[in-house]
Symmetry: C2
Subunit: 398 residues, 2 copies
DNA sequence: CACATTACGTTAGAGACACGATGAAACCTC
DNA sequence: GAGGTTTCATCGTGTCTCTAACGTAATGTG
């Protein structure tokens, strides 16, 4: 159990001010007092800290015609470094280099072999290539974050990655020693949730869910202002909620799981039965956009089932928002209306709060953007155990 | 947004030490350092604080034959006050008086009229009567906590209580001004969850669910070491998850909700169809204990449906434990095996953590015990906004 | 029996926050 | 244009934490 000490409070407050500036743009200290809820004296100290670190620049504002001393604007100096986000998936590596506030500067994508060494080698080359492209050296990289389709232990180890075929890989350590900059590694759907809360539509949501579809259907639960991982790190496994009694067989061995109707392979199989050779979400989306009736029908069937799960999730978790993300994004436009209708009709209506259901603005790139989010956290030196704020909080102080 | 300041840290730490002593029994400061994870210097300061408050007593331990300075035991002085827990339900009020560590000293129960004034009057009389019974004066009452079957606003107002027929009642204020001791009011199922985490089987669980059955089926989600309430306070509405396509009509207007099969009235109705006049969980439990085949059959049917919901909850939330509580407890023994079997078979097995499903040790009294828990929180001056630890935490400091 | 060893608890100094007061830099009015 | 007002930022004091050193009280040892 980690202690709650002054140094930690300072780190929190630095992060608060940084994010306030990142999200809200340049602001004076007094404005930051309002937006962060901190004490003026604290903002003053944090501002000095950030100035000393070279992360923010100050600019005297000219008079605004109002009485009083004119404020000094603080602004994040996006030129002092870059963040690197990456995504590992079976056979592919994606890299995204952004400014300190998350604006894209370069991207890279490449294919890779199946082993851990292959992937790390490709990742290393990819990052180098992306940095070269914009003529940025490693000295400007503040941190690297990587999203991986695997269950993670708290220390950034890959506990189990069925699609990758990896197990007990000390990914964080290996990358950290290779690059000697802060490196953060996390589960891909968790990373996608981070992208939504830092850069996406869920920026102001304390409670939201991310439902991501790639080879499987995964969920991330962002509850009460932080990611909820569950007692064993398995929380969010919504792909195996049963939606059809005695339905299609699922890879998990059971029948009628959501994943058996909505995962990429499942949709493709369903379409193959009806004479359509559309193996990916992207191709299915393209066909739907072309108005293919069979495709629309299959998607609508999947949407109905997704809607059922989402309704139950809304009843149980009362989220503010549900974000559909990942490769699934390619077909989300044809799912959304049906899902929304299901929630409106099936979820407990009378005294329920409104729940917005939307597609991620990052689409299939949400995990890579999540890598950037992980890098941002690492750059603000909010290490892994801080992710779990309980670590710093007493168990029973409710 | 509340600030995170030293005084707040002190309150947290006082609570940590208090709970460590309460749960683990008398301990030396060095032992507390180990169990709480706090610094020796902090424990020293907190110990002095608690001694000054008169909450703990110190006792020099005689030599134990080991080298070194012998420790001084700290122990909670349970004689310096009492806590009062209460439960309001339609027509009935229950009161429970305990020591500072939650040991029962007196109970009281009485019936009441439908209005808010009726209930408050009865509650007042009941508390007086219970205190009289053990010859304890109001000066010894450290705090009062009340569990209410209603949605609460954060300030302890009853936002909406359908079964009580109340709406926008400032319950906390009215009770606080009547008694002039700290008063805490919360939703009944949330209170039951508090009882489980403070005094019950979920004491060491960071992530657990409480499923309580009275007139309806409610759930409380204790996730990541704290109660999760959802964006609108509606989280945990598991009674209206659909378990049967086009099933029995539910009070919510939909069909096939869990509540339509498991709530007290629903079970009674189902049994009435089959010639059994058993209007309450208690009577149903008694009949089941007597081996009535029809009752067992109906209970098993309900258990199968509950098991389905629980399986999905386990998949999505990955809790350590699920506690069945409330009046439902009377029939839990006949539900549990079926539910456990469902979870073992239906929930994602391979890489899932184990989830224990148990009956609350407080049975139908879990809400009243939750009132005591609320009182304990109030007595440790951990006010309402502290309940939401985010209030003290930056939004994006993940 | 003096001195080392071991274990327990407290104190001293530095960092961080809150609150209240003070300094700083503009505008406004007479 | 001098003084007052308004707004923005910093400083001083007190409290709380952590680290590290110190005091305290027992046992062990030659």
């Amino acid at each position: 159990m980690q202690r709650l000490n002054p140094a930690l409070i300072r780190r929190f407050n630095v992060a608060r001010v940084f994010h306030a500036l990142r999200v809200g743009g340049p602001a004076s200290q007094t404005e930051l007092v309002r937006t962060t809820g901190l004490d003026p004296a604290t903002v003053s100290a944090v501002a000095r800290h950030l100035r000393d670190e070279g992360l923010v620049t100050t600019a005297r504002q000219p008079s605004r015609g109002r009485a009083g001393r004119p404020p000094t604007q603080l602004a994040i100096d996006a030129s002092v470094g870059v963040l690197v986000g990456a995504r590992l998936e079976p056979g592919t590596v994606r890299v995204l280099v952004t400014t300190l506030v998350g604006e894209t500067r370069a991207t890279w994508q490449g294919s890779t072999g199946p082993t851990v060494d292959d992937a790390l080698e490709t990742l290393g080359c990819g990052v180098e290539a992306a940095l070269d492209e914009i003529d940025v050296g490693w000295d400007q990289v503040r941190a690297v974050g990587v999203g991986v389709p695997a269950l993670m232990s708290l220390s950034g180890r890959v506990a189990y990655g069925p699609n990758l075929g990896w197990r007990h890989v000390p990914l964080q350590e290996r990358l950290a020693q290779r690059w000697s900059v802060p490196v953060a590694v996390d589960n891909d759907t968790s990373a996608a949730a981070l992208a939504e809360t830092l850069f996406g539509a869920a920026r102001d949501a304390r409670d939201f869910l991310v439902i991501a579809g790639h080879s499987g259907i995964g969920g991330a639960l962002y509850l009460g202002g932080r990611l909820y991982r569950g007692s064993g790190g398995f929380a969010g496994e919504i792909g195996h909620v049963r939606v059809v009694d005695g339905g299609r067989r699922c890879s998990c061995g059971d029948r009628g799981c959501l994943e058996a109707y909505l995962a990429e392979d499942a949709l493709a199989a369903r379409l193959a039965e009806r004479g359509r050779d559309l193996p990916t979400y992207a191709s299915i989306g393209a066909a739907a956009a072309g108005g293919d009736g069979v495709v629309l029908e299959v998607l609508d069937e999947a949407a109905t089932l997704l809607g059922r799960v989402v309704s139950d999730l809304v009843d149980v978790l009362d989220p503010e928002m549900i974000v559909l993300a990942g490769a699934l994004s390619h077909v989300v436009p044809w799912l959304l209306p049906t899902v929304e209708r299901a929630v409106a009709h099936e979820a407990l209506g009378a005294y329920r709060s409104r729940c917005t259901i939307i597609a991620s603005r990052f689409g299939p790139e949400s995990v890579t953007m999540g890598g950037v989010g992980l890098a941002m956290e690492a750059a603000l030196s909010l290490p892994g155990w801080l992710l779990d704020q309980d670590a710093a909080m007493p168990r029973h102080a409710t």
